[in-house]
């Protein structure tokens, strides 16, 4: 025991007291492991982040009640300069109404509670317009329990006229769980994202723990030469490897803790998380802390097995065994074999076994990228003889040792393959989505609805005010009363009615019934809202016109609805004061959209204004897609950093050779090009492999969830280009190091 301890301590001492070079290598390993462990902790926090998000969304869900609801509510959504503001208008009916999470009381009419992010936005010049639209006084801040994240733009405002707006009768807030992140598709996507993003980090950590392994072997060979046996050498190697890794794990823990508050500052396309929600599951955290050092020791021991000792004490690797394709194909084939049985059985993803099967399949396919890449690179460079000198130096270097940079490129290829598979599934899900809002070219038109305007002719008031707004080309409006779904009634001027329906000869008291199945007929006596009235004898059936352009709002007029002119409505004693409108904007007038919304808000602050067209059911997919791009970018940047470290280390280890080349008069550009080729060749092969495997994996996954194959080649090209850009940038950044290492002064040995 004491012998082992002594050997381990010797290893640690060699790592820290082996001179500047040794300390540099420990620092490189520590930096790499620190970054990797930090990302692993973030990745391991994803389950908690998702469950916390679900809990927060669930807490804000409303539970309805048909009888005597203590609270009325109306969803109050707005799109402001590309940002989504979520909110609800509330009207207390009971003395003791249920409270939404994060609120201590229901705001009164004209008052609102806002999230800290919204408060900040409203106080800034950028939020001045929104402040005018909301038209309410801030009386409090929504607590953290009522928000999905620190960047959540949320509000609750008070109202006293919700009964006229088809409100939601609310019994209580909070449902057991949110269904926002659930279902086979989301399960598969979360699996793919976790695996696709965490696997490259694991590869990266393994790579970082081997920084400087060649030099380590040299020292170990010298130690063996003076009598250390194989086991003692292994223990010393373990001690040396542990030094950088344990330091990295410790720094990674600290960096993660330090970054947690900063994570809450992030707002990626509207997604944000509270730092308190970013906490890894305890068992995952323990696994990371134990597994990373253990893996580094295992890898160090693996590396020492190839060290041979020469009389001069220089270790030399034995001949590299020729890489065999057969076993490298095993992992991807096994992966696909695990995934294929899930095709047409997506329900199995709901079970633990199904999830494990899918995860294992995805892991094996992606690991296959790492397994196949070295074979591809070797096959490509094996017989390369011709070519300019930089090319020759690069391929020979690759042939001699793919080394650390090769492993880093594997991680990049792995990231891209995973991201492409994810992107493919996202794209297919998006393409298959059937629930889309009507075509709504937001830059040219607006369709506010549900504007509560109390006037004798509300539709005309709305039309007049909108038409006098700067930037509005034209506006059409119709007032509706759909309180009794059996007898829908719409009121508008003759001019508007003639635009909406195929009407001719409309007069002041005209009435029409929209064609189609209807409970209404001419001369019918009705009781509506306690009032009696009779459908005019003159009411005749008319067909609606084809819904185009600004008339898109008229799509909501149901078959069989009663169309009336304002005078006819007044004559019958009908009050229809919820107005829908279609507005055509002049795109040449700056701020036309904002001006129109300001007018609408003045007419009714609670008017509903649909945001830019988005697929309704794809909110979750969009959120996940944003996270994917953010995650892939973060992983690529970290791996790019490690590639930089790897190249730097390689250049340092080769400084004598570079100095000799410089002494011979080698142009720096020759070496620069060779470094570029040395990186570009594996990257090009890796990306090609990543695209093939990523598309293949995506295709299988799409079939599993029963979606038609659909590839967004633009997005795939973008991801691939991003990875290529990272490598090109890293190579560019290393050029000054090349210049520095190429100084012939490095020839000096004394």
């Amino acid at each position: 025991m004491s012998r082992s301890w002594t050997d381990l301590r010797l290893g640690v001492r060699l790592a820290f007291r082996g001179g500047a070079d040794a300390r540099w290598r420990v620092a490189l390993t520590a930096v790499g492991v620190t970054l990797g462990v930090t990302l692993l902790f973030v990745g391991a926090s994803v389950p908690n982040i998702v469950s916390a998000h679900n809990a927060r969304v669930a807490a804000a869900n409303v539970n309805g009640s048909d009888v005597h609801p203590p609270l009325l509510g109306l969803w109050d959504l707005a799109s402001y300069h590309g940002k989504t503001v979520t909110g609800m208008a509330l009207q207390a009916v009971d003395r003791d109404p249920p409270l939404p999470p994060g609120l201590h009381r229901i705001p009164g009419p004209g008052q609102m509670f806002v999230s800290p992010a919204l408060r900040e936005l409203l106080r800034s010049p950028a939020g001045a317009e929104l402040d005018r639209w909301l038209h309410a006084r801030i009386v409090g801040t929504i607590g953290q329990s009522g928000l999905t994240g620190p960047a959540d733009l949320r509000l609750y405002r008070g109202a006293n006229d919700l009964r006229a707006r088809n409100p939601i009768p609310i019994k209580s807030f909070g449902s057991p769980e949110s269904d926002e992140f659930s279902g086979p598709l989301v399960t598969l996507l979360v699996i793919l994202m976790s695996v696709g993003l965490l696997l490259p980090i694991a590869v990266f950590v393994a790579t970082a723990s081997r920084f400087g392994s060649d030099q380590r072997n040299v020292r170990l060979a010298a130690i063996r030469l003076i009598g250390a046996d194989r086991i003692a050498t292994a223990r010393i190697a373990a001690g040396e490897a542990l030094s950088g890794t344990v330091l990295g794990v410790a720094c990674g823990c600290l960096l993660f803790l330090a970054l947690r508050p900063l994570i809450s500052q992030l707002d990626i396309a509207g997604i944000s998380v509270f730092s308190s929600d970013v906490r890894p599951a305890a068992w995952l955290a323990i696994l990371i802390v134990l597994l990373v050092p253990a893996a580094s020791v295992a890898l160090a021991l693996l590396a020492t097995r190839r060290a041979a000792i020469e009389p001069l004490g220089v270790s030399r690797r034995g001949a590299e065994p020729r890489r065999r394709l057969a076993w490298r194909l095993v992992t991807p084939i096994l992966g696909f074999l695990l995934l294929l049985p899930l095709i047409g059985a997506s329900h199995r993803l709901g079970s633990t076994i199904g999830q494990v099967q899918a995860s294992a399949g995805v892991v094996l396919v992606l690991v296959g990228v790492s397994a196949l890449l070295p074979w591809f690179v070797e096959a490509a460079v094996r017989r390369t003889e011709a070519g300019p000198l930089p090319w020759l130096l690069a391929v020979r270097r690759l042939r001699a040792d793919h080394g650390t940079s090769g492993r880093v490129v594997s991680a990049i290829a792995l990231t891209v393959a995973g991201a492409i598979a994810l992107q493919t599934v996202f794209n297919a899900a998006d393409a298959q989505s059937s629930t889309r809002v009507p075509a709504n070219p937001a830059s040219k038109a607006l369709y506010p609805y549900g504007m509560l305007v109390r006037a004798s002719d509300p539709a005309s008031v709305v039309t007049r005010q909108l038409r006098s707004t700067r930037g509005v080309e034209d506006a059409v409006a119709i007032a509706n009363d759909y309180q009794n779904p059996q007898y829908p009634i719409s009121v508008a001027s003759c001019q508007s009615l003639e635009l909406i329906a195929k009407i001719s000869g409309c007069a002041e008291r005209s009435a029409y019934i929209v064609s189609g199945p209807s409970a209404l007929r001419a001369g019918q006596a009705l009781r509506l809202g306690g009032e009696r009235f009779r459908v005019p004898e003159s009411a005749r059936k008319v067909a609606l016109r084809e819904v185009t352009g600004k008339l898109a709002f008229a799509e909501s007029i149901p078959s069989g609805a009663l169309l009336l002119t304002p005078l006819a409505a007044a004559h019958l004693g009908i009050t229809a004061d919820l107005v829908d409108a279609g507005i055509t904007l002049n795109p040449r007038v700056p701020g036309a959209r904002d001006n129109a919304i300001t007018t609408i808000a003045r007419l009714d602050p609670l008017a509903d204004i649909p945001s830019d067209p988005t697929p309704i059911g794809n909110h979750v997919l969009q959120q996940l897609q944003n996270v994917l791009f953010a995650g892939a970018t973060a992983v690529l940047l970290v791996i790019g950093g490690s590639l930089l470290v790897a190249i730097t280390e390689q250049l340092r280890e080769r400084r004598r050779v570079l100095a000799v080349l410089a002494a011979f008069g080698t142009r720096p550009s020759t070496i620069a090009w060779s470094v570029l080729w040395q990186n570009a060749l594996p990257v090009a092969l890796g990306l090609a492999l990543a695209v093939v495997m990523g598309v293949g994996l995506g295709d299988v996954l799409m079939h599993i969830i029963g979606l038609r194959a659909s590839f967004d080649w633009g997005a795939i090209a973008l991801l691939t280009a991003a990875a290529a850009l990272v490598v090109a940038t890293v190579t560019g950044v290393t050029l000054p190091i090349v210049w520095r290492q190429m100084r012939p002064e490095a020839l000096r040995v004394e």
Binding site: L393, R396, V657, R748, V749
Partner: protein
């Protein structure tokens, strides 16, 4: 180029003189607080073999590096063929090293991932010679240095003596006017060292190349026409 150069008789002193191929005059060079050279001078005639001797840390390698344009001295001047090396741009000095000088280092310092033949052809390819022609000339030189059979081997797979002969071939393949050899036998056993020195000096004389030979071994220095001793950064003729 050097083939047309007349071989001059070896001068008897280490002092700079007219008609020298390289003249180093009063060189000074410091690394931090350490003065590696402090008024060192060296004169080398075309075709001459000069041994630079001295104990470890005396400044002999630094003198070689300054003479070869690898280092720029802090003071003094190095004149090659009438041109001041210290005033040349880095690009020009690189060109000079590529075309006019050859180098042999301790341990060979071959590029590990290139085969021995490719190592020899490397300076030719750097000078723009085509791949096939460079390979042909490299083969010639490997044959001349009696290591033709290891042409396809990697440097890591050959013995120290063989590697050093490859390094000599690499230094001479461009037919340089000066070969700078820094402890060329320092890592070899005496038998291999002797053979390397025989081949190096014979080949240099055949091509009329001058040789600056840094060594601390009298046995190696015996191959030189004359010796210059460096001590505490200063030179004196022995």
């Amino acid at each position: 180029m050097s083939g047309s150069q007349a071989v001059t008789a070896a001068p008897v002193s280490g002092r700079p003189g007219d008609g020298s191929l390289i003249s180093c005059v009063n060189l000074a060079k410091r690394f931090g607080s350490t003065a590696a050279l402090d008024g060192a001078s060296l004169d080398l005639a075309a075709g001459e073999v000069v041994a630079v001797m001295g104990p470890s840390g005396s400044g002999k390698s630094t003198l070689l590096h300054c003479a070869a344009g690898i280092l720029v001295p802090d003071a003094g001047e190095v004149i090659f063929d009438g041109e001041q090396i210290g005033r040349m741009a880095d690009r020009r000095r690189s060109e000079l090293r590529r075309t006019e000088f050859g180098f042999v280092f301790q341990f060979g310092r071959l590029v590990p991932e290139l085969s021995c033949a490719e190592n020899v052809s490397l300076p030719l390819r750097l000078s723009g010679v085509g791949r096939l022609e460079a390979a042909r000339r490299a083969d010639e030189w490997l044959q001349r240095l009696e290591v033709q059979e290891i042409g396809r081997s990697l440097p890591g797979d050959v013995s120290g003596g063989q590697g050093q002969r490859v390094a000599v071939a690499r230094a001479l393949v461009t037919r340089p006017r000066v070969v700078f050899a820094d402890e060329p036998t320092g890592a070899l056993d005496s038998l291999s060292g002797e053979r390397v020195m025989q081949l190096l000096t014979a080949a240099a004389r055949d091509t009329a190349a001058a040789v600056v030979l840094v060594t601390h071994e009298p046995r190696v220095a015996a191959y030189a026409d004359r010796e210059v001793v460096v001590r505490d950064g200063k030179t004196r003729a022995s």
